[in-house]
């Protein structure tokens, strides 16, 4: 069972190797990697600026966040590489998990300390009063569980990558 799992995981580098031979897939993957890396470098440290993004957030970038940005951008870039390659080989690819992971990764920045959640829940509370009491505890939870949220985001992206690798390999005849 264990060896079967390892063999399955081993299919990812093999699929990447095949996909790197496809110019268009390489282009898509490269572009997405660069764009995602830039965005994550700016977005991840914004938890220290209350959601302000740009040079102001870059000043607060830590080595850990830079590493996270690199990992997530690589996962997205590779998923795109395999996705385009798979499509060109006639496979049906899915990006659901990767998109979910990418969304989850920006959750702490968006919701931890910015006014988005209080404003949204205040608006909802005008219709449903109980919602008015949820905003701050939710922000507190997100803020104190950032590592877990990033972990889940990376796991989802890795799962998406693995799925695309399998599909790409099944068609690489």
């Amino acid at each position: 069972m264990m060896s079967a799992t390892l063999a399955n995981i081993g299919s990812v580098p093999r699929a990447i190797h095949y996909a790197l031979g496809d110019q268009r897939a390489k282009l898509w993957g490269g572009v997405l990697f660069v764009v995602a890396f830039g965005f994550y470098l700016l977005v991840l440290p914004a938890t220290a600026t209350g959601g302000a993004i740009g040079w102001v957030s870059l000043r607060w970038l830590t080595p850990g966040e830079a590493a996270l940005a690199l990992i997530m951008a690589m996962l997205l870039g590779l998923t795109a590489l395999l996705g385009v390659y798979g499509l060109r080989q006639g496979a049906q690819t899915t990006q659901g998990k990767s998109v979910l992971g990418a969304l989850l990764a920006v959750l702490p920045t968006l919701l931890c300390c910015s006014p988005i959640l209080p404003i949204t829940l205040t608006a909802v509370a005008s219709v449903l009063p109980i919602m008015g009491t949820l905003g701050l505890p939710l922000q507190g939870f997100i803020s104190t569980h950032e590592a877990l949220i990033y972990g889940v985001a990376i796991a989802l992206m890795a799962w998406g990558l693995y799925g695309n690798a399998r599909r790409a390999l099944s068609c690489a005849c």
Binding site: W28, L32, V35, A36, F39, Y40, L42, V43, A46, T47, A48, T49, G50, G51, A52, I53, G54, V56, S57, W60, L76, T79, A80, G83, V84, L87, G90, Q92, T93, T94, Q95, G96, S98, V99, A102, L103, A105, V106, T109, L110, C112, C113, S114, P115, I116, P118, I119, T122, T133, G135, L136, P137, Q139, G140, F141, S143, T144, E146
Partner: protein, 192 residues
């Protein structure tokens, strides 16, 4: 029943997924910049800081105690990352604050903003320990009345800059991103 997808459909779907991947971080860019309170609040020049009190070192302290000094009333939660970064900015800029007449009152939100966390003293000790011994900085806890008066929207990291005459001149948030505003206020309030 199975649906046969043509290559153009697949390419279109894939492009949408890729766009979503890119847009999802970009969505964060659309989040308000440098605000955890109102970004462009209406002019508050005529609004006087309401009377209120807070707890510091186990004692009740009246806001009126600081009349005659420019004051920054800053409400934070001790689980908040931008609040921690804000304290670090103040530690970096301590010399500037020490040269001014400004008093910076850092208060833990009432009930810590609804989520448990360490005390304000422990928070300052972790983030910017030198500020605990600086007479320009006062650390304490919101009373419910002060929280309702100065932070009715329940923002996590929000501050009021109150002039020496007791008027509220600026309401903003996240000093880590908006320190320039505080610096400008300090300069404007400097005694000739």
């Amino acid at each position: 029943m199975s649906t046969v997808l043509t290559l153009p459909t697949l390419v279109r779907r894939f492009s949408v997924a890729i766009a979503l991947m890119i847009i999802s971080p970009a969505g964060a860019l659309a989040s308000p910049s440098g605000v955890m309170g109102p970004q462009d609040p209406p002019p508050v020049a005529a609004q006087m800081a309401p009377a209120a009190n807070f707890m510091s070192d186990g004692k009740i302290v009246e806001m009126a105690t600081f009349k005659g000094h420019p004051v920054m009333l800053w409400q934070v939660a001790t689980w908040c990352g931008s609040c921690r970064a804000g304290l670090q900015i103040f530690e970096e800029q301590k010399a500037l604050v020490d040269k001014s007449d400004m008093r910076i009152i850092v208060l833990r939100d009432y009930k810590n903003g609804g989520y448990p966390g360490i005390s304000i003293t422990a928070f300052a000790q972790q983030a910017a320990p030198s500020l605990l011994h600086d007479p320009h900085f006062i650390f304490g806890d919101d009373t419910e009345a002060l929280y309702k008066l100065y932070n009715p929207q329940h923002y996590v990291d929000v501050y009021d800059l109150i002039g020496a005459d007791g008027s509220i001149q600026v309401v903003s948030s996240a000093p880590s991103a908006t320190f320039t505003k505080i610096q400008q206020f300090m300069t404007a309030q400097a005694k000739p």
